[in-house]
């Protein structure tokens, strides 16, 4: 019943972009974690998480993202986020994730001065 998640990794100007299409849940979140671990092991310090506006993120998925935010602090990485719907931007603000990751309205703005 869970929609599959599609993850891709690209690089722009030294920023690793992890593009996430689909639902972000405790189950699909392991794919995001794997992508994060892959870019981290390469020593990347700047990461952009690019979400799908049509995707659904539940509390299990939020927990995965909090785990990534926690790890990024230990590794002195900066994580930016784009692509979220207005609703999930509100959710991220509500749970406090915006204290640890900055939200941007577009990829271009997220990459600017990164």
């Amino acid at each position: 019943m869970n929609k599959n998640i599609e993850i891709s990794i690209s690089d722009k100007g030294g920023v690793s972009i992890i593009t996430i299409k689909g639902d972000v849940t405790a189950i699909t979140g392991s794919a995001i974690e794997a992508a994060y671990e892959k870019v981290s092991s390469a020593g990347v310090k700047k990461i952009l998480l690019y979400f799908d506006k049509e995707g659904y993120i539940n509390s299990g998925g939020i927990a995965v993202l909090i785990g990534i935010a926690s790890e990024s602090r230990k590794k002195e990485q900066v994580i930016r986020i784009t692509g979220l719907s207005d609703h999930f931007q509100k959710i991220f603000y509500m749970v406090g994730l915006t204290k640890y990751t900055e939200l941007f309205p577009s990829e271009d703005l997220a990459l600017k001065d990164f």
């Binding site: 019943m1 869970n2 849940t25 405790a26 189950i27 659904y56 539940n58 509390s59 299990g60 939020i62 927990a63 995965v64 909090i66 785990g67 935010a69 926690s70 602090r73 719907s85 207005d86 609703h87 959710i91 509500m94 749970v95 406090g96 994730l97 204290k99 640890y100």
Partner: protein
């Protein structure tokens, strides 16, 4: 099944089926005239309540069901989610700082989201056991403060 102003459905205790309840609640809310942003709030709250019922109430026991009842009133929609499990006890509100610092598990946001997205929330025990979450969303333009 619709009786007067009630719509009832039962979903299996399988992760993923919460989406059926979400979309049903969204359809009813749209018919009632809720704004798109409040429909999204409702979908998230219903999803979280169903996931709690599936994972924590029914322990993902596939012999159990989660019951969802939508009650339509003129100025509000009530959504009740009931499982067949034992009580889940007191839930502490999550603190992201503690989770970021590794002092707490990163999970545990479901009830927090439900309380912050709905206008009224009550947690009760069912008449024949099980956990019951009653959520009410008011048909107003302003979201809850």
């Amino acid at each position: 099944m619709a009786t007067d102003n009630k719509i009832e459905l039962h979903i299996p205790s399988i992760i993923g089926f919460e989406k059926v309840a979400m979309e049903t609640a969204a359809s009813v809310a749209k018919e009632m005239g809720f704004t798109d942003d409040r429909i999204e709030d409702l979908k998230t709250a219903v999803s979280e309540a169903c996931l709690n019922a599936i994972e924590h109430g029914n322990k993902m026991d596939t012999s159990t069901k989660v019951g969802i009842t939508l009650t339509v009133e003129e100025s509000k929609l009530q959504v009740t989610v009931q499982d067949e499990g034992k009580g889940i006890g007191q839930i502490d509100l999550p603190q992201i700082e503690n989770k970021i610092e590794g002092k707490e598990k990163t999970r545990g946001w479901g009830i927090f989201l439900i309380k912050n997205l709905m206008n009224e929330v009550k947690f009760e025990s069912g008449p024949e056991g099980g956990n019951v979450v009653k959520m009410i969303i008011h048909l107003k333009k302003e979201p809850p403060a």
